[in-house]
């Protein structure tokens, strides 16, 4: 055994370690308080382990015959993600120019648009889907709308931020040629942001596909509907198949969008 020394700098100030001890005690109290509320209990987890094992054993082996029935919902999930992304882009496009500090017509419009984007982004897709299911009925379309609204908030924010990063010189040059505002956007702004935008839209599509797999739980179409249905009927082997298909779809989307984004960034150079 060698000999060791504790190398910790004494905190600055006259009080030494006391303030740190106070912070540590406060954090512990916060964790204890949260554990009370959320009923975190490792004892319960330990007691529940046999039931979890039982549940998993009922899922095994996955019922591969059920795959046949999942083809249509899986395709529907992709279709929901495609239109959810497209509508989100269409909604975000007009808003992003108003929400970019360097193009906005005024501070009032800027702050109002930012707030609209914050609110739409702040509401979870599942909650939006519940609202739209109530409004337009069960099926994939409310799912599309939910993804569109939430995605518009997210895309609008990212679009606006990439607009704020552009070089203002060309914009000024175009203004000095007598070009109109939309001409300035098309010839001065879009060429500078388009690759960043495509990368964000691909990322959004990936996220939408992941979200579309659970939208069915609230009746908004896609593979999540089959997942919940199989669980309600205690067909856990079917549930396992659903989960496997979802994992495969999400992984495929993740891989494709990563690959495409890398290609685009390369072409950018």
């Amino acid at each position: 055994m060698g000999s060791y020394t504790l190398l910790v700098a004494r905190p600055p100030g006259n009080l030494g370690w006391w303030p740190r001890a106070g912070i540590a005690a406060g954090l512990l109290a916060l964790l204890w308080w949260a554990a009370q509320g959320s009923q975190v209990s490792f004892g319960e987890l330990a007691k529940g382990l046999p039931w979890i094992a039982d549940f998993l054993s009922r899922m095994f082996p996955p019922n591969l015959a059920f795959l046949d029935k999942l083809v249509r919902p899986a395709i529907e999930t992709i279709q929901i993600a495609i239109w959810g992304t497209l509508l989100a882009v269409i909604l975000a496009l007009p808003l992003c120019f108003l929400a970019a500090r360097n193009l906005t017509p005024g501070p009032v419009v800027y702050h109002a648009t930012r707030q609209v984007l914050n609110v739409t982004r702040g509401i979870n897709e599942i909650i939006l889907a519940l609202v739209f299911v109530a409004a337009v009925g069960l099926g994939p379309f409310p799912g599309v709308l939910a993804l569109a609204v939430h995605g518009a908030g997210m895309l609008g924010k990212f679009f606006a931020e990439s607009i704020e990063e552009i070089d203002s010189g060309p914009i000024e040059a175009l203004r000095s040629t007598g070009a109109g505002p939309i001409q300035i956007i098309i010839f001065g702004v879009l060429p500078q942001v388009v690759t960043a935008w495509i990368a964000v839209v691909l990322y959004r599509f990936e996220t939408n596909l992941r979200q579309a797999t659970v939208l069915g739980m609230v009746g908004a179409g896609g593979i999540g509907f089959e997942l919940v249905g199989s669980m309600k009927l205690f067909q856990y082997q079917d549930t396992a198949t659903c989960i496997l298909v979802i994992i495969a779809m999400v992984m495929a989307a993740d891989y494709m969008s990563t690959w495409l984004r890398a290609r685009i960034q390369q072409g950018n150079r």
């Binding site: 010189g169 040059a173 175009l174 000095s176 007598g178 070009a179 109109g180 939309i182 001065g188």
Partner: protein
């Protein structure tokens, strides 16, 4: 062609321009000479109203400049601008960059769809030929060298078929040899086409070489006006106060300064 009376521009408490009177004759190549921060850029930007003047009147070809959208567009169509940092759109082709000079004159809706009248494309080609870049027309502009980018900037200005070109330190970011080439292109084209040019420079030798008339600006005022051969040492000391203390000679070009506001601060301290 340009008539400026009592032009003043204040940024808060800072007076960038303190009452400027200038007349520019049609077809003249006027050099505005002065140290960085003297107010040269503000002067040019007031002429095409990228900056709104605090006081004063500007007439261009008899038309008073004002801020209404329609009259602004008319004004900017006939007054082109060339910038120190070129301000070309990097990811557009050279040809399209030059075509943007035609945007003010063509139907908006078609231009949004990237449809351009043949006549405008022909004008853009002709302007590229004048700066001898027609072989680079399809290249992406960010693949060009600095001097070539500025030639694209000149071609874009010419494509507007303007009455006036305002050149704001067009060669401040270029090496001396390239600077001469670029200024030669600008001067030749504007001579052949009869375009009035107001060109900001801080290098005295270029002012002597290219200017037909020189206006010296220092701390927001016109301190000299006359032919380039009248630029005596005495005059230069008026335009560049503190030149002796700095220990540099009158002909030494000042280093290009990428942050004009900082230089403005320097001038404030000098004043």
């Amino acid at each position: 062609m340009i008539r400026i009376r009592g032009l003043a521009k204040h940024y808060g408490a800072f007076e960038a321009l303190k009452g400027i009177d200038i007349d520019v004759a049609p077809g003249e190549f006027l050099v505005v000479l002065g140290p960085s921060g003297a107010g040269k850029s503000t002067l040019l930007r007031c002429i095409n109203r990228l900056t709104t003047p605090t006081r004063g009147e500007i007439h261009i070809d008899g038309q008073p400049a004002s801020d209404g959208a329609a009259s602004l567009r008319r004004l900017r169509c006939s007054v082109a601008m060339i910038f120190q940092h070129y301000n070309v759109v990097p990811r557009l082709s050279v040809e399209k960059n030059v075509l943007t000079g035609r945007l003010g004159a063509m139907p908006s809706l078609l231009s949004w769809l990237q449809v351009f009248p043949r006549a405008d494309v022909a004008i853009a080609r002709e302007c590229l030929r004048r700066v001898e870049l027609e072989d680079k027309a399809k290249r992406r502009t960010d693949t060009l060298s600095g001097g070539q980018k500025q030639r694209v900037g000149i071609a874009r200005a010419l494509a507007q078929q303007p009455k006036v070109i305002l050149a704001d330190e067009p060669v401040a970011s270029l090496d001396p040899k390239t600077s001469r080439t670029v200024l030669t292109y600008l001067k030749q084209a504007s001579r052949e086409l009869g375009i009035t040019v107001v060109c900001n420079l801080h290098q005295i030798d270029y002012a002597r070489e290219f200017g037909e008339r020189v206006i010296g600006v220092s701390a927001g005022r016109v301190v000299f006006e006359g032919a380039p051969d009248k630029l005596s040492d005495d005059v230069l000391h008026r335009i560049y106060p503190g030149l002796e203390e700095a220990g540099s000679t009158a002909a030494a070009p000042q280093p290009a300064e990428p942050h004009p506001p900082l230089m403005r601060d320097l001038v404030l301290k000098e004043a």
